[in-house]
Every structure is written in structure tokens, then in C-alpha cells.
Amino acid sequence: MAPTFFQLNDTQLNYARHIKYWRRNLKTLLPHFYTSNDANRMLLALFTVSALDILGDLDAALSAEERQGHIDWVYSCQLPEGGFRPWPGSDFGKLRNEENRIWDPAHIPGTFFALLTLVVLQDDLEKVKKKEILAWLVKMQRPEGSFGETVGVDGYVHGGNDSRFGYMATAIRWMLRGDLAGPYQGIPDIDVDSFVTCVRSSESYDGGISEAPYSEAHAGFTCCAIAALCFLDRLPLPPSSKPDGVIRGVSNVPKTLHWLVSRQTLTLDEDDGLDTMNDETDTSETCHDAHTFVKLGAYPSVQAKSNTKGRPHIHYELEWVGMNGRCNKTADTCYAYWTCVPLQILGYLDIVDRAPIRKWLLDKTQHIVGGFGKVTGDPPDMYHSFLGLMVLAMFGETGLQEVDPALCITQKAKRHLESLSWRRKITGMDKAQNGTDKIQNGIDMAQNKGVSLAGDKTQMDA
């Protein structure tokens, strides 16, 4: 019973506008308000090339010379001692020496996004100082298992101890040495068990994952933690597998799923939030205190009852469903990414209805000039534009390339990485074609059955 003129206004991805938006980011200077993101340029670089790759436009957008020029630029951010800086801003050029290089350190996000950018640009990573990076990763881990952003000369690890850096560190490890566990050519492995323990200790009482023990559950940290567990092959085993005695996370999958689906919200902008704050509905008599409830409790859908599949007919208000990052917060484009990716990795994307989320992104946060804004009516920015696009690609939007959402690149780019000869040697893929690719297993799991819902005692008993 949706109003007909909304139906006439067919929801669609404005493919040409998105290409135009990302080509502009590729070809022209970014507006000066990105100055506060200067130290994140490598992230913006990856988003630019990967978005065009997802849109199927990257090859058309770049001449051979430009492609090589961009690859050279990424390598210009590689440090003599290994690892990457995320921007040219801290480069002292010829003046760089032992005394001042502490102000120009290798950087976990810089290295993560540089490697991915090279992969998307189809570089072979031969010039990457891989052993140096792997040795440095070990130093980036703190005794309790978390990873930091940079390490000082005194060995002190700087930066937050949340799962963002653990996500990137474990992804770097996976890119450079696949699923290989233990020392490699004399370089010790990171302490995988202590990292998993660290993630488990950050699980909140409501099932989400937070920054640190007892912090508030947050979709961004939840996504980073679950993706990292996937890179390390430490997700709970599928129901059919026997317990192997290996420490895994998350510890209570049903609770985490409950938390993730609770991120769906009809509070799409701040004004929606007002419904739950100061008006007359906020009493225990009406109990219409949360926005979702105001809209739904008052207008029960008759069709829902007669629907044989148990899937209710889409109510007018249910056409658009947003996603928030924490309990009782407003919807935000990026949280569609941070919430749907862990669901996909765990193998339970089907427990959210993709159609109204897609419709929210396209009708409410997609911008007329291309890209996505944070909330309804916001101008587009690269961060929300990329993550919004990634969600649609993950949902299988027509015209977009298949993606690996945890790595933020297309499946094509990922296959390129996996095909590189140096990597095939490390992972043993050049010997055995049937070598186990755990990430692929993760995706198979996602498509077939999902991780076990059983309490993790069964995983740990053996």
C-alpha cells in the first residue's frame, strides 16, 4: 500500500554520477577541507581506486602511464626500514636520519592501505619490503595482544588499543603470508592466541564488541574484530566441525547476532530522534517511546499476518531501514558497512532484510552529485561514499563488481593478489592447488551454513 508516486520514482544507483564523483577525486585536487585527513591520504587513495574498480571504471580511467605513476607514488611512501607512511607529509627527504625518523615512522593504516592500493592497481608487490613489514608487525603487538598505530624507538607502541589496528595488522599478515602460522624464514609470527583473547575480553554485555574491556559496544570495533578473526581463521567453527581446542572468538555468536540486527533502525535523522525525546509519546502509558515503536505499534500491518512466508508486506514506514553504530543512535551510512560486513563474515547476512537498507542508502543518503553522505541530506564525502558503495556491491547491486568487503577491494583484485608468484610460494599454493584458503572458506561458510551458534564451550573443550 505504498504511495504510488514513490513507486514511480524507481530507486536506483546513479551509476554515472558515482563514476563522475570518483573520477573527480582521482583527477583533481581534493577540496581543502580534506586537510584534516591529510595524514589519512593512503586511505583516501585506496577508496578512490577501489571505488572505481567496484564501478568497473578503473581501467578506463587510467592510462598505463598514470597507473604506473600512482604505483610509484605509493612506493614513494615506503620507508627504507620497511613499512609505509600514510602520506608524504612526514617525509624529510634527504634530511631523514636515525635521529629524526621517529617523527616519520612506519604506520599500520598507512601500510595496510598502501598494500591494498598496490593490489588494486595490479602491481606485483615485488618492491614491497615484505620481511621487514612482517618483522615490524611483531613489534606492533602489545603484551595483552592488541596492536597499535606506530612504534617508537624505545619500543613503545603508540595509538589506541582497539580492534582497528588489529584488523589492519592481521590483514597485512594475511596479504603477505596467507594462512601460514608460526615463524617464516626466521621471522616470528604475531601472537595470535593473545590477540584472540584480547578481542574476547572486549565483548560487551550486550553482545557487541567495544574498544577495550567494559567499553561500549560499537559497530566499527565489532566489524574490525570479526574481520580480524576471519583473517586469522579464528572464527567459531561451522556446526559440522569437531572442536579443535584452538581459542576462537566471538564467544557467544547468538548474542552478537542479536546485537548486530539491533542496529537496524527507523531513526534516520536527528528529527526522527526527537520522537523519542520530548513529545507526548514518551510515557509508560503509551509506551511509544522509541521511534520504531511509534511508527509500527500504531500502524500494524494487516498484510503481515496473511503472508505465508512469514515475511511481512512492506509497510510504508518500513521501506527505508537505516543502521546505527550503537544502541539508541541515529542511522549513518557507514554503519551499514560496519554492521553488514560482520554479519556476512559470520554467515548470517540473511537475518537482515537487504532491500530496505538498500533503499535507505539509495533514497536517503545517495547524493545527487554522486557519492553518499553520512545522513539524509548531507553532502557526499569519500569515506561514506566508499562504504555506501561497498555495501551495495556486497548486496549484489547490478552493475557493480563482486567485492571482498573485509578487504575493501573487488574479488578480481583479491584474485590478483592470490595469484602473485611470491605469495603462492609462501602459502604453498604453487604446489597444491587444493590448498585451503581460509578466507574463501569464510565466504563459503557465509553462503552455506554460517559459524556455529553453539556456546563456545564446545569449541574449547577438546
Partner: protein, 355 residues
């Protein structure tokens, strides 16, 4: 459907004065007197600062940025002011200069690019080298933090300074001013947790009272509920006593009665039960106050239904009631999560996997 339109239209009209007000008011009005003493000139009123014609910098040659060839990615249209200041910062860092003038330079860079991760480390080193009083640094940080509410580096810096200072004095007031601007700011709450731990404030009555005040102010502030959990459970290594657990259960029940459709206290009370090793069925009668599957037209909370579905699923003879609760959620009381409720319904037939 016409009704929905009228409703939406009316809502827009009624909200417009609020919108107007919001647009007219300055974005960050000073929240309290606390900041007035240290308030610095706002960004817009500040004149650009340059160094090339400044006597004090005549001895230093700036180090311009090498943008890495003809094809840089994500190149930004820097302002002249930023480009030049960054050139001087690189030159100063390259020669490891620690002085008053570079302290000012770091402040200038931070005002334009607070996410510059090593400028903060450099600043910390300068402070140590020139012996700047830590109180002065904190006084400078307060308004800076207000301007960059979502910056990570600022908090890391603050940790370092307060840790070195060894006293939390003044910090609760600072935090109160921050939460007035953004009551759910993740960094502020994380910082508060750090303070509680660093200075062992778990059992300080003021801490719980402050948290209670925040919950009173907005019963939907999940950050406040989470902080309460940190004090009550985290401070007791995950094991609250029976008395404390009962106190928290009663406290939370009162909050739920105020606003039954608010998920924060429902999550909280279940967390308390778990920590106290009490079964969910402890809350069966309470949940039934808000939702009774026998009386499906009078459901006052989807979260109560959700909990009842779990409780019934655990009881051998109540599977049908559990199914009914999940069906009500899927079709009437929480259809945006219909897929999930149907999935849960499917699990009822499987052995023991309830959440």
C-alpha cells in the same frame, strides 16, 4: 497513506522552529563557565599565520613537501598557510628542535590537522624538554578538545599528560563540559573509564551518582548505562555481590517502567543477570508486565517480547509461546527485524542454541 503524508508534513512544520533555532545558534556555544577562561579565538575569526616574514623564524629554511612524483593520489588543495606551516614543521622535526617557538608551531598545525599523529608525539617531547608545566598544557587542551570532539590523538595526549600529572583533579568538570556538547561521545566515555581505573574511582560515590545523573537526564543514553556496568561489574572483576545485583535489578526495572521500549536498560539488566549468574527467567513476571503473548494487542515493549521468547524457549512445555512471541515481533511489533525473528523461530526446533 494520505495520513502518513499529513503526519510527515505536520511534523516538518512543528519541527521547523526547532530547526530554525538550531541553525541560528552558534554550533558550539560555550557550555559552561569552565571554558571561558581558556577559550581561544575561533577558527573563522583567526587570521592566517605565516612564518616566512617572521623574524623569529628567519634562521630556519622550510622543507617543502615532496608529493612523490607526477601522479600522487588523494592530493589535497592545501591552503598556503597549511603548506607553509607544514614546511616549517618538517624542518623543525628534521633537526629535532625543542623550543617555545616550535611548541607554538605544533599548536598551529594541530588547529588545521589534529590527526597528524607524530605532531602530538613531537609536542609531548617538546613539553618534556622545555619543562612546560603540565597544568598549562591541560589548560590549552581543554578548548582544543572541544573543537575536535572526534579526534583520537587528542585523547591519547591527554592520557599521557594526566598520567604524568598523577591527579584527576578538574577532570570530572572537564568531562561534564564535554558531555554537554555530545552526551554520547565515545572518546569522552572511554576517557572517563580510564580515569576511573587509573585513579581507582570505582567505589567513589560521586562516580555512581554522576552516572545516575546522566541516566536521569537521558534514559536512552547507552554510554551512561555502559559506564554504570563498568563501575558495578567491571570494578568487581565481573562478579557483583547478590546485594549489588539486586540493587541494580531494581534500579533498572524502575528505568524500564519509565520507558519500556528503550533497549539500553533491557541489555543492562540482562548483563547484570549474567554477571550475577542468575537465569533469565528471574525476569519472567517483570517482562510479562509489558508483553503477554495471551494478550497480543497490548504489547508495550518489543524487548520484553524478545526476552519472553528466550525464557519460553528454555522451558520444555512453552515452545509454542516462544513461537508466538517471535511471530508477534516479526509481524507486528518489530517487523524491521522480521528476518531475524523468523530465524530465531526456526531455531526453536533445534536443540539448545538460544541466545
Amino acid at each position: 497513506m494520505a495520513f502518513n503524508f499529513i503526519r510527515a508534513w505536520l511534523r516538518t512544520i512543528f519541527l521547523s522552529p526547532y530547526r530554525l533555532l538550531r541553525a541560528l545558534l552558534p554550533k558550539y556555544t560555550t557550555p559552561s563557565r569552565y571554558f571561558e577562561e581558556t577559550q581561544v579565538a575561533s577558527k573563522s575569526s583567526r587570521m592566517p599565520k605565516f612564518y616566512h616574514d617572521d623574524e623569529a623564524w628567519a634562521d630556519m629554511a622550510p622543507l617543502p613537501q615532496d608529493d612523490g612524483g607526477l601522479h600522487p593520489l588523494a592530493a589535497i588543495a592545501y591552503s598556503d598557510e597549511y603548506s607553509e606551516a607544514m614546511g616549517y614543521l618538517r624542518a623543525a622535526m628534521a633537526q629535532n628542535e625543542f623550543s617555545e617557538r616550535v611548541l607554538g608551531l605544533t599548536e598551529h598545525i594541530i588547529s588545521m590537522n589534529p590527526a597528524h599523529y607524530t605532531v602530538w608525539l613531537y609536542r609531548a617531547k617538546i613539553i618534556a624538554e622545555i619543562g612546560r608545566p603540565l597544568q598549562d598544557e591541560i589548560a590549552w587542551l581543554n578548548p582544543t578538545a572541544l573543537k575536535h570532539l572526534k579526534n583520537y590523538q587528542i585523547w591519547h595526549h591527554r592520557h599521557t599528560m594526566i598520567d604524568a600529572l598523577g591527579s584527576p583533579d578538574g577532570e570530572p568538570e572537564f568531562i561534564s563540559a564535554m558531555v554537554e556538547l555530545d552526551s554520547k561521545n565515545y572518546h569522552v566515555w572511554s576517557y572517563r573509564q580510564w580515569l576511573v581505573k587509573r585513579f581507582d574511582l570505582f567505589d567513589k560515590p560521586e562516580e555512581l551518582a554522576w552516572t545516575h545523573g546522566m541516566i536521569e537526564e537521558d534514559v536512552r543514553n547507552n554510554s551512561a548505562w555502559n559506564h554504570r556496568y563498568y563501575l558495578v561489574v567491571g570494578g568487581r572483576e565481573g562478579k557483583p555481590s547478590a546485594d549489588i545485583a539486586n540493587r541494580e535489578i531494581e534500579y533498572t526495572k524502575a528505568a524500564i517502567r519509565k520507558a519500556p521500549q528503550n533497549q539500553s536498560p533491557w541489555n543492562y539488566i540482562l548483563g547484570i543477570l549474567r554477571a550475577a549468574e542468575l537465569p533469565k527467567s528471574t525476569l519472567k513476571d517483570f517482562a510479562t508486565e509489558f508483553a503477554d503473548v495471551q494478550n497480543p494487542d497490548h504489547v508495550h515493549s518489543s524487548h520484553a517480547l524478545d526476552l519472553l521468547a528466550d525464557i519460553y524457549a528454555e522451558e520444555e512445555s512453552s515452545k509454542e509461546k516462544a513461537a508466538k512471541a517471535l511471530e508477534l515481533l516479526a509481524t507486528k511489533y518489530d517487523p524491521i527485524r522480521a528476518n531475524y525473528w523468523n530465524f530465531r523461530k526456526g531455531l526453536l526446533d533445534q536443540p539448545k542454541v538460544a541466545a
